[in-house]
């Protein structure tokens, strides 16, 4: 099952991920990404992969677990 990962130190709060997948990503008061879920279903993978790739600093990845 694919797992969402984030490099919290790299995150700059650009928030493209939130626009692309508001069910999976949010931004906290300090401007850092929050993962709203960890494991995702295969049917969500294309959409979440595109949301992850919309990060300007490549802080988001999706790994196979």
């Amino acid at each position: 099952m694919p797992v969402l990962k984030a490099d919290f130190g790299a995150c700059q709060g650009y928030a493209n991920c939130v626009a692309g997948a508001p069910d999976a990503y949010d931004i906290d008061d300090d401007g850092t990404v929050v993962l709203l879920k960890e494991r995702i279903g295969a049917e969500d993978l294309p959409r979440l992969q595109e949301a992850a790739r919309s990060c300007p600093v490549s802080a988001l990845t999706i790994e196979d677990a």
Partner: protein, 413 residues
Amino acid sequence: MSTTVVVGSSVAGVRTAQALRTEGYDGRVVLVGAEPGPPYDKPPLSKQFLSGARQAHEVTLLTAQEAHLARIELRLGSAARCLDVAARRLRLADGAELAYDTCVIATGAAARPSPWPVRSGLHVVRTLADSAALRADLLRGGPVVVVGGGFVGAEVAATARGLGCAVTVVDPLPVPMGRLLGPEVGAHFTALHERHGVATRFGTGVEAVTGESGRLRVALTDKTVLPAATVVVGIGAVPNDRWLAGSGLLLDDGVVCDEFCRAVGTGDVYAAGDVARWYHPGHGTRVRVEHWTNAVDQAALVARNITRPEHPQPYAPVPYVWSDQYDWKIQIAGTPADATRHTVVGRLSGGTARGGALYGDDSGRLCAAVTVNWPRALVECRRLLAGQAPFDTALDRVDRLAARAAGRPGATR
């Protein structure tokens, strides 16, 4: 097996190729790029790459290995020369011809060239080589004059200042950022330069640049002359669509597309990113957008529409752009040009600035927002914009965020 040829190794081109695989496209994917090196990301060229904080390999968008794993065939180092839409063939500068079933034009935009013919020391910033050459000149020291107070000019000024250069920014507009954000909010961006020791000569044009690297002279319309070791010209960009003249595609400051990002008059040619001028159903007109996020979003949509042509989706994004200048993270969403009123929330001055401005249109809706050092509020505004929220509702939400951040209800405005 069908073949999609993506023309341009811009972020739009790379992301289209990747998104085709993500969407399950099973044919050949060929990515054509004019530059010989691996595709790279452009936002760092005026910031982290220019400052030296990031090296060339750290701005790569797609390595050879990643391309191999995604079955993306890289055809780098040869520019596209002409497109034969009827025969579905693309010819490259090296003479090679590629046959395609679907073509995506993602050739981006080029820096608007400097109108002043100077042999050395004058730079634009658009490619990795541009940024590396500018960095070498900045490291030699001496005063820097930046022509253009928009995003690229302001970011280069901030980076050059960070490298210890004496910097002056020149722009013919009295408040350069005021054109986009209105004079009141725009004035805070002028103050940002001045607070960091960068001189501004706004409301003044450039008449001529003469001399050579290390000994340049920038003559202004007010008859003063600025000596400069290095001059940077950031006066906009022009779409790379000239190679398509004669292709039969409709060109008008970019490739003219329908709401599905298909080049009008074709069924198998798409465009994405800076080069695309598409019909935006939300605005009711054709627009061309030069922002990174638009390139990425448009690439994903084009890949979807190629993969599922029986259910094409229209492309109607809320515009979003960011800029990092000095100690400010600036984020803008929506269309401030539509505004008839605005309200400032929080603080837009000083080193600990954290605030924004909300813009409303004449229908009473939120039409845009700008935030400084406040990503949380920008996220909220992007949601509100997507939902076409009333201005007053949006203001109330952002006020509450400000109060929560300050821990003092109602104390921020």
